[in-house]
């Protein structure tokens, strides 16, 4: 278990990669984008990208806006 700041909220996770985190959040096959510590993580690297303690993770999507 590590502690990450996910979308602004501190929380524990057993996921060790971005893919595992996404899966644990029910985002499998959804359209989203991930940033860790202000660096975009391309989809192709989600599997191999390790999560580290205290990482700031942002998971975003498109919403209505003008």
């Amino acid at each position: 278990m590590i502690e990450i700041i996910l979308n602004g909220k501190t929380q524990q996770t057993s996921a060790s990669t971005v893919s595992e985190l996404a899966d644990s959040l029910g985002l499998t096959n959804k359209r989203f984008a991930v940033e860790i510590n202000q660096q975009v993580i391309p989809k192709a690297q989600h599997q191999q990208t390790q999560l580290n303690n205290l990482d700031k993770v942002e998971i975003v999507q498109a919403i209505g806006g003008g």
Binding site: F32, A33, G64
Partner: protein
């Protein structure tokens, strides 16, 4: 119209038949969003980028399920950004989200009351985004000098506000829009401030290539019908621009001949 068959709108090397770009905010729900956008005939649709609602309901519907990137050109915007850095980060995430799609709408705002662009920051962000390979459509003030700078640094469209975002005040300063139009080599779109159909028509009559709007449709009492009105208003304005209006006159000019009167 035969005359307009070839009158396509080109942005970043892609052509469109519709000159109406629409936002996706402020609708009651995604069904209304979808129906209104269909009625508008828009081909380019702008969306905001925000944190996913994690944990709440993973199965809640997603905007892009209703407005499919397969059908529409999705134009992610940087609404809500108050610094150049925020805007650049948002664009990077949007590009990732949309599988490398590089067309973005840049807006860097100055304050919450007016949502007027911070042009100093906008210029900085635009330059960075162009360097990073984005096709940047820029929401900007109606300052013709700043507009020229944006074009010179590689913006693919200049989008001066007609009026404040969500104000519905129409084109507050047509003189400046005209100055921007006269000098621009890239498309000029009016973005923000349109309140009703005639505002859109006027923008097109001035010579704008297209108009981007959101509140005017979404906040009408009947958004779907207003979407249809806007579609026609944009086409009417474009055709009137191309047709070349009659000159204004201070005095009357009879439509019927004077000769041949029997009275």
């Amino acid at each position: 119209m035969n005359d307009t068959v070839k009158d396509v709108f080109r942005i970043a090397d892609k052509t469109y038949n519709s000159r109406l770009l629409v936002g996706t905010g402020k609708y009651k729900n995604f069904d209304e969003t979808k129906t209104a956008i269909e009625a508008s005939g828009a081909e380019i649709v702008t969306v905001a980028i925000r944190r996913s609602n994690i944990g709440q309901s993973a199965n809640e519907p997603n905007l892009l399920d209703y407005i499919s990137p397969d059908k529409y050109t999705i134009l992610p915007n940087t609404a809500g950004c108050y610094t150049a850095d925020e805007a650049v980060r948002t664009c990077e995430l949007a590009r990732e989200l949309l599988d490398g799609h590089k067309l973005v709408k840049l807006e860097v705002l100055g304050d919450q009351k007016t949502l007027y662009p911070d042009m100093e920051a906008t210029l900085i962000a635009c330059e960075q985004l162009v360097q990073r390979g984005f096709d940047v459509m820029v929401y900007c003030s109606d300052d013709p000098i700043a507009a020229k700078k944006l074009e010179d640094m590689g913006a693919c469209a200049i989008m001066p506000l007609a009026g404040l975002i969500g104000s519905g005040l129409g084109i507050c300063n047509p003189h400046n829009i005209r100055l921007i139009l006269e000098q621009a080599q890239v498309p000029v779109l009016v973005d923000a401030g349109v309140g009703t159909a005639s505002d859109a028509t006027i923008a097109m009559e001035l010579g704008c290539e297209a108009v981007l709007m959101n509140s005017a449709i979404a906040h009408a009492q009947n958004p779907v019908l207003m979407a249809s009105a806007m579609r026609k208003a944009i086409e009417a304005g474009r055709e009137a621009f191309l047709a070349g209006r009659m000159p204004k006159k201070a005095y009357a000019s009879a439509s019927s001949p004077i000769d041949g009167r029997f009275f």
